[in-house]
Amino acid sequence: MAQRITIDPITRLEGHGKIQIFLDDSGRVSRAYFQVPELRGFEQFAVGRPAEDMPQITSRICGVCPTAHHTASTKTLDDLYQVDPPPVAKKLRELIYSIFMLEDHALHFYFLGGPDFVVGPTAPKAERNILGVLGKVGLEVGKRVIGMRKELRELISLLGGKVIHPVFGLPGGVAKPMAPADQPKFIEAAKRGVDFALFTLSVFDQIVLKNKEYVDVITSEMYTHRTYYMGLVDAKNRVNFYDGRIRVVDPQGKQFGIFTAREYLDAIAEHIEPWSYIKFPYLKKVGWKGFVDGPDSGVFSVAPLARLNASEGMATPRAQEAYEQLYATLGGKPVHHTLAFHWARVVEMIFAAERFLELASDEEITDPKVRTLPTAVPKVGMGVVEAPRGTLIHHYETDEAGLITKANLIVATQNNAARIALSVDKAARALLDATKADDQGLLNMVEMAFRAYDPCHACGTHSLPGSVPLRIYIRDGAGNLIREIAR
């Protein structure tokens, strides 16, 4: 039986990430689109289920960032039941969350961004993968990354249950306290995490910043968009992953707005395009002006660089130093270069590790009073966290019995979708119109345009990842396929 069978776990779902490039009659790029597969029926699936099941349900949408969904959902239940968790419960949630952010960012830096910078943007295709990264940074560093990741995941499991299916968050608190006997494990792991994050910054400094070619790529116009930026900030407008208000700055870096999760519908609207399952969020007060950047376009960005741009600093000392170095090197705030997301991610690794250490060392962290029982009648709840890939908002409505009547998620990759579309379009235009790059070169350079965002389309479309292998389809003005490029 002749048929194509893809049984690699990464491509179990046969859908491909697709880039469709349409040319005009003169053969120049008229528009490039980035498309991803769809999953259907999340809202219908949620309706009628008990709201307290949502932290488990949403954390299983995909295996990439279960902790982000679990935490956003738990905070949404706090709001739904109008219950304020005890201080230690908030600290434990943030501690788990900091571990998760550290692990996720490390994975991205070494293994996802690595092919672009650690190996190099012009390296041969055969080396532009995880194995190439290991070859460049050395096996000892590779073992350290794998070992650190394993240790961090085990700590999450120790406190929060399974990494993939966490059972930690409850409305009004968490399921269990930290045992005093376990606290030293967390403190020691956090110290190693800080060392590791600072080591990663030194790797970035040595391999990337000391290489003028790399810095020129980072600052090139092809990978630059002057958009708005969004991120959670604390009371002093410093980056916060777990809680705070959502701050937006304009392309000049001035505060455009600041709002709570409850107010997100006043700030964000969603634009629909016929060629994509993703809805494109934009700033309501600016309006949708198409896939363009600038102060008159409501397109905004989330994720590491956006968080740094939207803040006034970091809440921990070493992260603040790294933050200042980034802006000093790249010409001040805001930085509009998409590839600087990789650098911002390293700054956030340091912050996550330092915050992990602060919380693990907190005298109150083993306090057994980890929950306030909810008593209010539920109605509407909204919650927000900063996922590794950007601002993540959950919104539930229930009947009086607490059964879901409406559920909406605005996920991180979705928030970045319009800017990702801009990036793919701009790279495709530059490469097809100017350099006539070969197939793999084109694929690489276009991939770099969106890889910096660390997009995860698993929940961007409420879908499992089916985006590899990526394919590029180039069509003439009549829509006829004239060239297909596959990895």
């Binding site: 039986m1 048929q3 194509r4 069978i5 893809t6 049984i7 690699d8 776990p9 990464i10 491509t11 179990r12 779902l13 046969e14 859908g15 597969p37 769809e38 999953l39 259907r40 029926g41 999340f42 219908q44 699936f45 349900i57 299983r60 949408i61 995909c62 295996g63 990439v64 994975l107 991205h108 293994f111 996802l112 092919p115 672009d116 532009r128 993968n129 995880i130 194995l131 290991l134 096996l139 590779g142 073992k143 794998i146 394993k150 995941r153 993939i164 299916h165 991939e447 890889r451 995860c456 698993a458 409420h462 879908s463 499992l464 990842p465 985006s467 590899v468 292998p469 990895r487």
Partner: protein, 172 residues
């Protein structure tokens, strides 16, 4: 750490994508102590944790055929999957994980078999599989049991004879 792992992959909230998990659930309790049956929704580099220090692994997963009708359960070894490389840790495959583990000096299983079950709809949120896919669970479990049986010493009773009749009581 048991030397043999049976690993069901999938997402039980996504209709037919649950099939690997359902087959693994049916196998739970059927094998001697040297065999562990696990389920996971993990993918990409996270699968590395599952494979470390195992000798033999059976992966039970789904695939989406061009035409579901007429498609059959497929069985192959890891070499048949190919070595396609991706730049994303979210999506790295078993072939790549094997290379990474070998390069890092980690023990990769001597043998990895893959049992792939055709599915019709793995993209709709539902706990219920398509009936035609659900009907393949028993056959897949039987084939999985035979693969594991061949890995066990000859003096161990065939695990297929101990397949549980009511797997609903044990879940991943």
């Amino acid at each position: 750490m048991t030397p043999i792992l049976v690993l069901g992959l999938g997402n039980d909230m996504l209709k037919d994508d649950a099939v690997g998990i359902r087959v693994a659930e049916q196998l739970m309790g059927s094998f001697p102590p040297e065999v562990e049956v696990r389920c996971t929704s993990s993918f990409g580099l996270a699968l590395l944790d599952e494979l470390i220090d195992r000798e033999k692994v059976l992966v039970i997963d789904s695939y989406v055929p061009e035409e579901f009708v007429g498609s059959e359960i497929q069985e192959c070894n890891l070499d048949a999957v190919g070595e396609a490389k991706t730049a994303s840790p979210h999506f790295v495959g078993l072939g790549e994980i094997r290379e990474i583990m070998r390069k890092l000096g980690l023990t990769f299983p001597h043998e990895v078999r893959i049992l792939a079950i055709p599915v019709s709809d793995p993209t709709t949120f539902s706990y219920e599989m398509t009936p035609a896919v659900a009907a393949l669970v028993n056959e897949a479990a039987a084939r999985a049991a035979r693969i594991v049986e061949a890995w066990l010493p000859p003096d161990v009773a065939p695990p297929f004879s101990r397949l549980r009749k009511n797997p609903a009581s044990m879940s991943c």
